[in-house]
């Protein structure tokens, strides 16, 4: 149709960009509007956490895990603490397990609230759904504040349990929150599910097929949206997740719309888990007797959980000392970005933003 000689050019979706959810940078080769290729550039938030881990004791590293994936600090704490307990063979009292399940699921709600809000904002609904979800997230942050005294970096979990027991008015507040969150989620879903603009912008956009997802090591809602029925809470249960019944939402096509739907349905399942955990929480100690400077036996261990973004794991090597000899963090967000290059080719720049928004990443976890 057009016989004009046009050349591609390179555009920096750079570190300072409103919709790259942090300091992530892509060098996008564009042919006008169409994306030919992108080359990710990392490292703008590389704080060398694994180097700092070498000079911190096992218990001293917990505050650093808050700042890894700062949107779900509770899950980071839980993953690290589970790995140390696996390495040192520490048993956790049942009440601590139930508290950890409640905190992990509340954190999943808070994380998905931001991710779904930002994703719909990228699709064009300028911040209205984001602010409604943010209002709900503020209520969750109030409860975390009640429990740990912090809004974002909780430092709440300890090796062998949790730092302090639930305050008396936590469970009533949680019950009130759950009862009013369910109708809110129904209404939110009703308003956005069949919205034709959202359908037009996300249905069939950035398809990630199942084989590519498995090969790229993708985990979490992005993988489940492509049809992989894998959730560590069911496949490799920890913290007593086998006691709760919940189902795993799985998408069919693996496009942006499925990823959005999987996250919204996961929020519903998290509410179901919280209700069951609230009802069945036993009394008793919330923390096992663990020396302050725990010295696990020589050896290594890998503990992983189903964090809101995917499989978050810590690989610890112990040389019998008080500090881990090596502490490696499995970066879910970094690995989930492997397939972005194939998913984005051929789409327009506006779709690149939507696809990137559907793979929810946090730079603290990407660059560590």
């Amino acid at each position: 149709m057009m016989h004009l000689k046009t050349e591609p050019f390179v555009l920096n979706m750079g570190p300072v960009h409103p919709s790259t959810h942090g300091v992530y940078r892509m060098r996008a080769t564009l042919d006008g509007e169409v994306v030919i290729d992108i080359e990710p550039v990392f490292g703008y938030l590389h704080r060398g956490v694994e180097k700092l881990a070498e000079e911190r004791t096992y218990a001293g590293f917990v505050p650093l895990t808050d700042r890894l994936d700062y949107l779900s600090s509770m899950s980071n704490n839980l993953a690290y603490v589970l790995s140390v307990e696996k390495l040192a063979g520490i048993k956790v009292p049942p009440r601590a397990d139930y508290i950890r399940v409640i905190m992990a699921e509340l954190q999943r709600l808070a994380n998905h609230a931001i991710v779904v809000g930002a994703f719909v904002n990228d699709c064009g609904a300028f911040f209205t759904p984001f602010l409604y979800l943010f209002r709900e997230r503020e209520k969750i942050l109030d409860m975390f504040d009640m429990v740990s005294g912090q809004r974002l970096t909780y430092n709440y979990m300890r090796i062998g349990g949790v730092s302090q027991d639930l305050p008396a008015d936590f469970l009533p507040a949680l019950d009130k929150f759950v009862r009013q969150f369910k109708p809110f989620l129904e209404e939110f879903e009703f308003l956005l599910k069949d919205n034709e603009i959202l359908q037009a912008r996300t249905r069939g956009v950035g398809i990630l097929d199942k084989a590519m997802a498995i090969n790229c090591g993708i985990s979490g809602p992005v993988a489940r949206a492509s049809g992989i029925k894998r959730d560590l809470r069911k496949d490799d249960p920890y913290c007593g997740y086998e006691k709760f019944d919940f189902d795993i939402p799985v998408g069919e096509q693996g496009d942006c719309y499925d990823r959005y739907r999987v996250r919204v349905q996961e929020m519903k399942q998290s509410i179901r888990i919280i209700e069951q955990a609230m009802a069945a929480i036993p009394d008793g100690p919330c923390r096992a007797e663990v020396p302050h400077l725990v010295r696990p036996p020589r050896g290594d261990a890998y503990g992983h959980i189903e964090a809101p973004k995917g499989e978050l794991g810590f690989y610890l090597v112990s040389d019998g000392g008080i500090a881990p000899y090596r502490n490696h963090i499995r970066p879910t967000s970094l690995i989930n970005l492997t397939a972005l290059r194939q998913m984005v080719r051929g789409w327009k720049v506006a779709d690149l933003i939507v696809i990137f928004g559907s793979i929810d990443i946090t730079l603290g976890e990407v660059d560590r």
Partner: protein, 209 residues
């Protein structure tokens, strides 16, 4: 128009990486001494000034401090506390800071929400340089003030004042929204004390500004 796959990339990543690496190295070697905070003029006692000038001062200061538009510099966790401050509960638009501009051209306040690494330092300096005068900087969070919990890391700049002059420091990791709002109010008080309108003598060049 089918996307014909241009196999030969039209830029060489290695060459660009080397060039940017050189920029980072230069900045790293030059940014050793912290830049002094720009508030030397705060201590000067208020000299008697013409009524017209002081009212003009007041009007201009009122206009500047009640519409501070923040630039985007959101590397890490403090970014989400800043978004929470912009959110429905701690509404920042009560202070006229509702517009969050993506480009530094329309911003006059840089709130540095997050840890600064050496790889990000030249970009933040470039954003600061591209902001029009008058501009102010709030260093938010322990990482902004002194590198915070990551101070001993090999890749973290110990404090934003190594590369840009900072007006207000906000402690906390991350600082609570109330602390950030208090910091913004402190900055507004600081702006209220400034004297943007020059005297006649300064205008005609007898005295420096």
């Amino acid at each position: 128009m089918e996307v014909s796959n241009y196999r030969e990339p039209i830029y060489s990543p290695d060459e660009i990486d080397l060039h940017e690496g050189q920029i980072i190295e230069d900045l790293k070697s030059s940014a050793v001494e912290p830049i002094p905070d720009p508030d030397a003029w705060l201590e000067q006692e208020d000299v008697k000034r013409n009524l017209v000038l002081t009212t003009a001062d007041w009007v201009i200061n009122w206009a500047r401090r009640s519409a501070l538009w923040p630039a985007i510099c959101f590397p890490a966790c403090c970014a989400f506390e800043f978004i929470a401050v912009n959110g429905p509960r701690f509404d920042l638009s009560r202070f006229g800071m509702e517009i969050l501009r993506a480009s530094p051209r329309q911003a006059d306040l840089m709130i540095t929400a997050g840890t600064l690494t050496w790889k990000m330092a030249p970009n933040v300096k470039r954003i600061y340089d591209q902001m029009p005068e008058p501009k102010w900087v709030i260093a938010m969070g322990a990482c902004g003030i002194s590198g915070g919990i990551f101070r001993s890391s090999y890749n973290v700049v110990p404090g934003y004042n190594k590369i840009i002059p900072v007006d207000v420091y906000v402690p906390g990791c991350p600082p609570r929204p109330e602390a950030l709002i208090h910091a913004i109010q402190m900055l507004q008080k600081k702006i209220a004390k400034s004297h943007p309108v020059p005297d006649l003598k300064q205008l005609t060049g007898k005295e420096p500004m």
